[in-house]
């Protein structure tokens, strides 16, 4: 099996695992880790886009440049992407910390419930029901008449 193909499968696999983490998990921290995995896969894919068999890093070694050198442009681009993902990680983690301080949980279903409750309380209306909840059951006296 080709080594490049393995790396491609790894890159796409990392992106899929990250997306699965974002979509499937309901814990805020796992969603953040999913974003980080997705970014890692995307970075690997970017680097692989110009990968060539046997190309060395474009760095001056022992008084000369290597004969075949890897493309420096995606490497510089990935450096930017890594720095940006660090920024995203810092902001999302601090937001998660703030949410945990406010609600005491990181489960997005609980958080959504609590937020809707807070909004309803602030607006002075009843808590809106879930769209997936069964229809309200009316008493037999009302339905019979």
């Amino acid at each position: 099996m080709d080594l490049t193909l393995i790396f491609y499968v790894a890159a796409v696999g990392l992106m899929l695992i990250g997306s699965a983490g974002i979509v499937l998990s309901s814990h805020l921290l796992r969603i953040i880790f999913g974003i980080a995995l997705l970014e890692t896969g995307a970075n690997l894919l970017l680097l692989l886009a110009t990968y060539r068999e046997g190309a060395a890093a474009p760095i001056w070694v022992n008084g000369k440049f290597p004969l075949a050198m890897a493309d420096p442009v995606p490497q510089a681009l990935v450096l930017t992407a890594i720095v940006i993902s660090v920024g995203i990680l810092a902001v999302t983690l601090s937001l998660a910390l703030r949410v945990h301080r406010a609600y005491g949980t990181l489960d997005i279903r609980d958080i959504r419930q609590r937020m809707e409750q807070d909004i309803a309380d602030a607006a002075g209306i009843d808590m809106p029901g879930s769209s997936e909840a069964p229809l309200p059951v009316y008493s037999s006296a009302e339905s019979g008449s």
């Binding site: 699965a20 760095i59 902001v91």
Partner: protein
């Protein structure tokens, strides 16, 4: 229901990625990087061509990258707010972490500065070395939470480093060149003092990244949730 829709979404995403992979024209030649590889050594004088791309060919992009990091650190500080009231009374860490922090502080300082100052010659540079510097200043805070980082000094270093980066860029404009054009003598390829202003720019980047990350990590540690 939610699980089924999520699984459907993932299958669709996999099919999409596979389709893109099928259609992708891998490795278009000639690459833009080949032209850069051929000429950057003489043009910029940096032994590490990735550094030449980051600081000389697209230095303005790197300045914006620093802005993103600065914005992230600022937003983190804004969102986190004031540290916990009992943060200064946190107990010290165990013996291993304390001894390790004392032992590693000078080592990390030297390694971080080495990576920054040799960014134009060897793999590494301001961003990588800056992270090592941030670790050097953050590990002592982890070991002894009572001694916090001097936030005034940190923001002073950060501001001065950012200003130095922009000033070096503006100096090029005084000579009638484009913003952030590398100045000074290119020197001998592979020597420590070479590549003109690139090492100075990377030093500014390293100090800025290190100060920013150390400040952000210290703030995260001081405001972390109690339970």
């Amino acid at each position: 229901m939610r699980r089924i829709t999520s699984a459907l979404f993932l299958v669709g995403l996999a099919v999409l990625v596979a389709a893109v992979y099928q259609q992708m024209n891998l490795l278009v030649t000639p690459l833009a990087g080949d032209a850069i590889n051929a000429s950057a050594g003489q043009q910029v004088g940096a032994g590490n061509i990735v550094t030449a791309v980051v600081l000389a060919f697209r230095g303005f992009d790197t300045l914006l990258e620093l802005t993103i990091l600065f914005t992230a650190a600022t937003v983190g500080g804004l969102v986190l707010g004031k540290p916990r009231a009992d943060a200064p009374r946190d107990p010290d860490a165990g013996f291993i972490l304390q001894a390790g922090a004392d032992l590693f502080f000078p080592l990390l300082l030297v390694v971080g500065l080495y990576i920054i100052l040799h960014g134009h010659l060897t793999p590494g540079g301001g961003f990588q070395g800056g992270v090592v510097l941030a670790a050097a200043f953050f590990i002592p805070v982890l070991a002894r939470p009572g001694t916090t980082l001097d936030h005034h000094a940190v923001s002073l270093i950060e501001g001065l480093a950012g200003a130095a980066f922009i000033l070096i860029g503006l100096l090029a404009m005084l000579g009638g060149e484009v913003f952030l054009t590398p100045l000074l003598d290119k020197g001998e390829l592979g020597a420590l003092f070479s590549a003109g202003t690139l090492p100075l720019l990377y030093l500014a980047v390293g100090l800025k990244v290190g100060a920013e990350l150390a400040g952000l990590l210290a703030q995260l540690a001081a405001t972390e949730a109690t339970d």
